[in-house]
Subunit: 547 residues, 2 copies
């Protein structure tokens, strides 16, 4: 079971499953129409699992008896808000009870209830993980009944970032990823949709952005319709899509269509003096054309993404880029009270104002607060990608935080430098973040209770310099699952004990093999022998504290 | 083009390809029947590429003219040995010439000649890499003609090791891997077929080995028929299959069926005192039953693998295991002139004798020579998996060497420890071996000319603790290609200049995308932007020598 429920009592009976298990929501008729559609979709996916999954676990064994009772149906109730609204405050809790006895002659009925349809979705996903196929009996069973599960998320924001600019992913790959995310109870897809390398979004206001800036203007783009498909597919699975249009840095791709508003474009060969990675280029903060561009683009992009948040980027601004730009230096000469930092402030103020005018709250990378110390309003959410002391700093200032340290939750690290002509180069964020390290990350470590409340959650991140459709699934799974459990279940169990990789490994192995059975290329964590023999490949006690 | 030919002259004409390009071998009728079959298979695969590949390169651009000449046919000649014999001495060289002009009204004809059918296979593979599909013209072209290629391998033994014991791979995955190996001009599949974790080989003499020691006795095995399929498929592609039955260590899986001949099986929890990895277990060197087992097993296994070499293993023997075994200590008490080391010598002598009695030459891991200093005959080939000073030591002693250092050519490293309950554990051979590091490995570094001649080649290795069918393809490619070029083309070009990653990157990117077009999940090395803009993502000069 992954992520593990907050509270879970179970037993030792094995139930059979009625082949056409009845699934009924008692009060779905009173729900909003879209809520009804979401329920229908979830019910169909649930049935698919019942019929097709046939998952045989390598390490979960159970007894089958000829006298096993049969689970006859599942009764569902939405106890609270029946709208389809999904946001940071959505109640995602649920209760699932699967009895193993019933009054004489009464059919066995499981019950799932939740405040919202999104709690129901989580409950159904949990249910699918209780089902195991028996190799011997060639039938589906529900072992370890009865089950009484009371479950709710530790963090409200449980995200996964995918970068679709360094390399492009077809829509079908994103949809498949969203499916796997929902099984893992992720609820935010942070879509790092554009960056310096390519601009795959086909804007209707500025079609030249992708005509010139996408890797391929016909096949490697996301149209308005594609984005609608992705956003709706995600919503159907309880996932919010938050787009990031990173600015003012990481914007070289705009220069293919609007060279005038990009400063220091593609400086070679010393790109490193102007940018964290090639190609260099930042938006010009002193040109009216820049702001005209923003004032046209942002209303369009915010209208395509219904979520109340919008990620404005803001990482890795390099002042050298502006210092090397004539129009910027001329502007500063004319405005002696201004500085490069005040130009950044001006740019960010205008950008955030536009976002707010379009009814969104901005999210920003930590640099705007930690490095540039901009006095942004306290409703801005700050995403911290470096060390925990920065989470402390930012929450102390009163901001809400999304946590996801490069030292723990960057899924791309450890595969060698992607920069060319660099035989000795490893990746800057070496080593690889193995699932055990990911599991050891505590987003609220060292914070006061007040500060900890401001950590709304976290994100695990796949930057795509060395990932694309060929390998992203193995990069993501099951390591992103490791982060998912920390975000859903929390670092501590209901008795206040720290969750350990020793306890988690067997469950994660089981979950990995179940994902593989669902057609997902989730990587193996161990030799199958270790999976089949839990604990036998653990670090020997003598090596645990060698000194 | 990958691996790059030893000598390659080309031009700037773009040829069209006659849709049903004639392919004819002038003297195939005089060849051995199996040679004829190999040729037919190769011709069919070549035609498949002509019809179906449609590879559009992201970084190779060429001019198409309405007046382009059309290549009409390919004429092939085997100039030497027409047998289908494939071994360490097989001549794999070939010459390919593709003209861009012809006498008036004469059709354009390409010529491929080679001493053996296996040279012909390499030439055909090279030819397929000259073909590019035009996105605009929707047609196949052969740019940069004329081509005059004279090519031969730098090393005779160009291997890839895959471990099918830690995790199992279905036959279809091995066949697919062999295909990709042949495109990369690998000629040895070192099949690390059994190990401590599982025994997938279904012996007919000892069926209980896989009935009890395979992960699944029905679905996760290799039958005699499977092995025949794999060996023949490989032979058809110019690849020798050398099996490794690692002994006396790494043999725990035998204990499931024959516990009496395995010492210190699965010691827990301090397995590390008895074995390099769990589960512990070594063959018992003092029991007649051990030798009876060998004398039955080895004739069978050697008969299933036609190659003249047989890998006997021999790595990571831990004497503590025998020291903890009553029968061994009792034997030593009765034989005061013996020692643990002399018992090892006795075991290896018997093992190697059996291999030789079955007409094979043993290959051994370096430990038998470097650590245990056994006086093995000089025809034994020694595989060195550690540092270059050990290659020096072993060649100084007069042995032939297969090189493949864990510091350079282990494809599994850098993905975190697979041992459980180990949150801080990275992989022992961190970091990840990125393609640039792999490319920088010189198997004959620091050797005299005489010593260097004894290095018959090398192998890149994928141990499968964290690899299985879900991810092995991305682990292998394109990094194994990096080793393949060093093995085929050598570290130095025909003018004696060191091959550089700077020169190689564009070609490797092109080759990676071609492998993807062939349906292989080869990983991306860079953002597509870097692929499309060669050199622009190179390490800036200022960072090259920072001090």
């Amino acid at each position: 079971m992954w992520p593990i429920p907050q509270s879970w009592l179970n037993g030792n009976e094995t139930l059979k499953i009625f082949p056409s298990l009845g699934i009924k929501c008692t009060n779905i008729e009173t729900a909003e129409e879209l809520t009804q559609q979401i329920f229908e979709g979830a019910k169909n996916r649930f049935r698919e699992f019942l019929v097709n999954e046939k998952y045989i676990s390598p390490n979960v064994h159970f007894e089958v008896s000829k006298n096993s009772l049969t689970l006859h149906s599942l009764t569902i109730e939405i106890t609270g808000d029946k709208s389809s609204k999904l946001n940071l405050n959505t109640n995602e809790s649920y209760e699932l009870s699967i009895p193993s006895t019933s009054d004489e002659n009464q059919p066995l009925i499981a019950h799932l209830k939740a405040s919202t349809i999104f709690g129901i979705l989580h409950g159904l996903n949990t249910f699918t993980q209780l089902l195991y196929f028996s190799k011997e009996e060639k039938e589906l069973f529900l072992p370890f009944a009865p089950h009484y599960i009371k479950d709710y998320p530790r963090f409200a924001h449980r995200g996964l970032l995918l970068d679709t600019s360094r390399n492009y992913y077809p829509v079908r790959d994103l949809l498949s990823m969203l499916d796997v995310m929902s099984w893992n109870k992720f609820n935010v897809f942070h879509w790092h949709i554009v960056d310096a390398n390519s601009w795959p979004v086909k804007s209707e206001v500025y079609p030249e952005l992708s005509e010139k800036g996408a890797y391929d203007p016909e096949t490697m783009i996301y149209t308005k319709e594609d984005i609608k498909t992705i956003v709706e597919f995600a919503h159907q699975r309880g996932i919010r899509v938050i787009p990031e249009f990173d600015m003012p840095g990481h914007t070289f791709a705009i220069s293919y269509s609007m060279p005038e508003i990009i400063t220091c474009p593609d400086v070679q060969p010393n790109w490193n003096d102007f940018s964290a990675s090639p190609p260099s280029g930042q938006m010009n903060p002193v040109l009216p054309a820049t702001y005209e561009f923003l004032s046209n683009l942002i209303p369009e992009m915010t209208s395509w993404f219904p979520d109340e948040f919008y990620h404005t980027g803001g990482d890795e601004v390099v002042m050298n880029c502006w210092k090397a730009t004539d129009s910027v230096t001329a502007y500063l000469k004319e405005h002696p009270n201004d500085t490069y930092e005040s130009l950044l402030k001006m740019f960010i103020n205008r950008l955030h104002s536009l976002v707010r005018e379009n009814d969104k709250i901005p999210i920003t990378w930590q640099e705007m607060i930690v490095d540039h110390k901009l006095p942004l309003p306290k409703d801005v959410i700050v995403q911290v990608w470096t060390t925990e002391d920065n989470i402390k700093k930012v929450t102390e200032l009163g901001y809400r935080v999304i946590a996801g340290s490069a030292d723990y939750w960057y899924l791309d690290c450890g595969h060698g430098g992607w920069v060319g002509d660099n035989p000795d180069g490893n990746s800057w964020c070496d080593p690889f973040k193995h699932w055990q390290r990911i599991y050891s990350y505590n987003p609220t470590k060292g914070l006061t209770e007040e500060e900890a409340k401001r950590v709304i959650g976290g994100e695990t991140l796949l930057w795509s310099e060395q990932a694309d459709p060929t390998n992203f699934e193995t990069r993501l799974w099951p390591r992103a699952s490791s982060a998912a459990e920390i975000l859903w279940s929390g670092n501590y169990d209901e008795n206040g004990n720290l969750r350990t990789t020793k306890e988690a490994l067997s469950r994660l192995n089981d979950w990995r093999f179940r994902m593989v059975a669902r057609g997902i290329r989730a990587e193996p964590l161990q030799p199958l022998w270790c999976v089949k023999n839990p604990g036998k490949c653990d670090l020997p006690p003598a090596l645990k504290n060698p000194f």
